[in-house]
């Protein structure tokens, strides 16, 4: 008997050990084969020089840096990642409260059956974001990432349900409020076969978001729980697309709306049609008391729960970006119309390569407000604030932009873009500067000369005429590219007609950028004028600066 066990021990156990080791090593091998690590990083640093003429302040640190790096690990249905950020110290124009470094973003997520669950930090969006959007924009220095739980359920193809529950990032801490929300979207094309055949679809969605914050106010009754809810409908038929979203917010007396109890509402309608040679895009928007944050005391670009998209066109030419539009969450009404068409190749105006023309007009006004009661001034704290008929425009112009861009390729060697922008900008409302309405006319010429297949030279000439603010500017740019690696740029913005003669200065700027694969390094030197930049209606003030900058971006 003992001999039998001994034989078992001698032959079978080693066999089992060998087999289990093989299985184990296979598991490890499979695990490693399925593992993927991705990441990207960006470093922005600047050496600052004091420049009293343009108002560039003295920077005690002399050089400042913003940087981040993402590392994401995936293995089949599992994924985990983190982002390191460092602001040592924050570059000019970024909120000084970012000062420091750490890991503000770390998460783990997995997908199982119909569930997709993320724990830790996450970004999410319901519809266009009118009820909820957490996102990150490095250029703006904006990050309202959530920390909590995010769940997505897809019970059947065509139905998506999302849930969020957590707190928002407030620089290196969390905001005081708790944000909870759910969203459901239903796509008819997955259920009606004819829709698929005819390339038609109807997508219906709805969302509900609530925040909770404990507050102390001896005078007013402050709701601890405040909710927004909204519905959306998207109809798509071939080249035609129309999207509408409406949202409401219940009483939310907070710092940005002067603590009024009026219900908030927002409406966004976008329609587009495109066919060969022409594209039309129309949009309209009305916002009324839609600022929604997880802290009733928060101001500036922090702790926003929702995102209110801008409908005005975002420009790229330097002088046309002087006066960009920033969404006015407390109230605005406006519309935008864009038409893009191509004059046929071979026609008199189209020439050999055709001519593209883009026309755009947008206008945003205040909403009409009238007193709630005869003796209560508009916007009075602790009241309903005002009454506002839904479609009535207020008499205050916030922003108007009429522009045309013509793109013409003359030959294989030359391409010319001519553009003209006429922008009316309410500086008091958008920037808080009491310069009234600034009217600016900006003609632009942009010529590209393709010297060889890889080398090109681009010239830009821009002029801005305005009788307000800093008056007239002229700008020139030369850019030499050796594709795909090198770009050399030199530009100068000259405020030649500033009403203060000492401020009639040149803002010279030169840069060299080198790209290899997914990595890019750019060195630049020169003056940066003070102003604001806006991305999607969210704006950041940029102070004047002078110095040497370096930007490194890479991904793997």
């Amino acid at each position: 008997m003992t001999k039998k066990y001994f034989l078992y021990f001698l032959f079978i156990v080693p066999l089992l050990v060998f087999y289990s080791q093989r299985t184990y090593s296979q598991v490890v091998q499979n695990f490693l084969n399925n593992s993927q690590v991705h990441g990207n990083a960006e470093i922005d640093a600047q050496y600052y020089q004091k420049d009293t003429i343009i108002g560039a302040p003295n920077v005690p640190e002399q050089a400042l840096m913003n940087a981040f790096g993402n590392v994401i690990y995936t293995n089949g249905a599992f994924s985990a990642g983190l982002r390191f950020e460092a602001y040592l110290n924050p570059m000019l124009g970024y909120d000084p409260r970012y000062k420091g470094m750490g890991f503000p973003y770390k998460y783990a997520s997995f997908t199982k059956d119909m569930f997709d669950i993320t724990i830790g930090n996450f970004y999410e969006q319901f519809g266009t974001g009118m009820t909820f959007r957490s996102y990150n924009d490095w250029t703006l220095g904006y990050d309202n990432v959530m920390e909590g739980i995010n769940i997505r359920i897809t019970p059947i193809k065509g139905i998506t349900i999302k849930g969020v529950w957590g707190k928002q990032r407030f620089f290196w801490a969390e905001g005081p409020g708790i944000v909870r929300g759910a969203d459901a979207e239903f796509s008819f094309q997955n259920f009606i076969k004819k829709f698929e055949e005819k390339n038609v679809n109807i997508i219906v969605g709805g969302s509900f978001v609530s925040k909770y914050q404990e507050t102390q106010d001896n005078t007013y009754k402050i709701p601890a729980n405040v909710a927004t809810y909204g519905g959306r409908l998207n109809f798509i038929a071939g080249d035609f697309n129309i999207y509408g979203e409406y949202a409401q917010k219940i009483n939310d007396p907070e710092a940005n709306n002067n603590k009024i109890y009026k219900q908030g509402e927002g409406l966004l309608i976008q329609a587009s049609y495109s066919t060969k040679g022409i594209g039309v895009y129309l949009s309209g928007k009305r916002l009324d008391n839609m600022d929604f944050r997880s802290d009733i005391n928060a101001t500036g670009n922090v702790l926003n729960i929702n995102y209110l998209p801008a409908i005005t066109k975002q420009h790229t030419y330097a002088l046309a970006t002087f006066y960009p539009y920033g969404t006015q969450a407390n109230g605005e009404i406006g519309a935008d119309a864009q038409v893009i068409f191509t004059i046929k190749k071979g026609s008199k105006l189209g020439g050999k390569y055709g001519t593209n023309i883009a026309l755009d007009f947008s206008q945003i006004n205040s909403i009409y407000k009238e007193r709630v009661e005869e003796n209560i001034p508009i916007d009075s704290t602790g009241t309903l604030g005002y009454k506002s008929p839904f479609f009535r425009f207020g008499d205050q112009l916030y922003y108007q932009d009429a522009n045309i861009e013509i793109t013409k390729k003359f030959s294989k060697k030359f391409k010319l873009i001519l553009a003209f922008y006429y922008i009316s900008y309410n500086s008091k409302v958008i920037e808080g500067h009491d310069k009234g309405i600034i009217y600016s006319s900006v003609p632009v010429a942009d010529l590209t000369w393709y010297i060889t297949k890889t080398k090109s030279l681009r010239f830009e000439a821009q002029y801005m005429s305005t009788r307000q603010d800093e008056h007239d500017w002229i700008m020139g740019l030369v850019e030499f590219s050796i594709a795909p690696k090198w770009i050399f740029t030199f530009m100068d913005e000259y405020n030649y007609n500033n009403p203060i003669p000492e401020k009639r200065v040149h803002y010279y700027f030169g840069s060299v950028a080198f790209t290899q694969g997914s990595s890019r390094i750019a060195l630049s030197y020169g003056r940066q004028r003070a102003g604001i930049i806006c991305v999607g209606g969210v704006c950041r003030a940029v102070p004047a600066s002078n110095g040497l900058s370096v930007t490194i971006t890479t991904s793997f």
Partner: protein, 288 residues
């Protein structure tokens, strides 16, 4: 499983749906109705002087804070009635700690301000909440003397007076009237805050200059207790207001039972909503 997910979603939406509080008018708390408060007659002022508010962020566990408080008392001696002080106990240094540091001087408003202005260390102080170096509004002790001087150099735009009256010792209700006089035409969005301050609170305080470091009967002055009208206050004006316009804002509040009326005073201030800079401030005692 699909049915289960639908139930989960319905449950989730149900929970969130009831997570909203609809407030019906009146929005003002009935206990602080100003109807019974008189509108006082304010004395006519012919000269207007600039005032500065120091908001000092402190805590009983902060060993450098007593020295900072001495520094501020020195400023009070220098600037007299033109300078007002609020001591905000918030953050890690203000947390209670057994067995000795049990006096909790934190309040919601102080916590809000500590978060809003991202105060990272104690002692720190702001001077009219103005950024004098373009990047921050709170400064460490070595910068205080310069900043206070800079704060007084900023021009006057408005003047304020405050009268606190009608304190009822049984109901603890008190009436506050604040008069604002526009010294120039202004179109900025201006907000008015009224904070409740208490002096002579006694408790333990850490002090690096004392031996032993734990001081048992430390006297806390200028302590922010709460706000009459919320952390960020009320709208005063957001349209163009002509020079010499006078506005009177009336409030009533119920004093919390843990505040000693004999040691209580009010500080009211007006700030520019966009820049957060305090333009002027005023102080009045509850009992004279």
């Amino acid at each position: 499983m699909k049915k289960l997910s639908i139930f989960i979603v319905i449950g989730f939406v149900f929970i969130i749906y009831f997570s909203c509080n609809k407030i019906d008018p009146p929005y003002m708390k009935t206990t602080v109705d100003t109807a019974g408060c008189p509108t006082p007659t304010f004395p006519v002022k012919t000269t207007h002087h600039k005032t500065v508010l120091i908001e000092e962020y402190t805590g009983h566990l902060c060993i450098n804070c007593p020295a900072a408080a001495i520094l501020i008392n020195g400023f009070k001696q220098t600037y007299g009635d033109s300078l007002f002080v609020i001591a905000i106990h918030a953050g890690g240094f203000a947390e209670p700690q057994t067995p000795n540091y049990t006096l909790d001087l934190r309040c919601t408003v102080g916590n809000d301000l500590n978060t809003h202005f991202n105060i990272q260390a104690n002692p720190a102080a702001s001077f009219n909440r103005k950024s004098y170096s373009g990047d921050k509004i709170s400064y460490t002790t070595s910068e205080w003397e310069t900043k206070i001087s800079q704060a007084f150099q900023v021009g006057k735009k408005i003047d304020m007076q405050m009268i606190v009256s009608g304190y009822n010792a049984i109901t603890r209700k008190v009436c506050i009237a604040v008069q604002t006089q526009y010294l120039q035409t202004l179109s900025d969005t201006l907000k008015l805050c009224v904070y409740i301050i208490e002096d002579s609170l006694i408790g333990y305080q850490k002090n690096k200059d004392a031996s032993p470091e734990d001081v048992p009967n430390y006297v806390f002055n200028h302590v922010l207790r709460e706000s009459v009208n919320g952390t960020m206050g009320d709208l005063l004006s957001n349209t163009q207001i002509q020079q010499n316009t006078i506005k009177i804002s009336k409030y009533a509040t119920i004093l919390n039972s843990n505040i000693n009326p004999a040691r209580c005073h009010f500080i009211a201030f007006i700030y520019n909503f966009k820049t957060e800079e305090i333009l002027q401030c005023v102080e009045a005692k509850l009992l004279n």
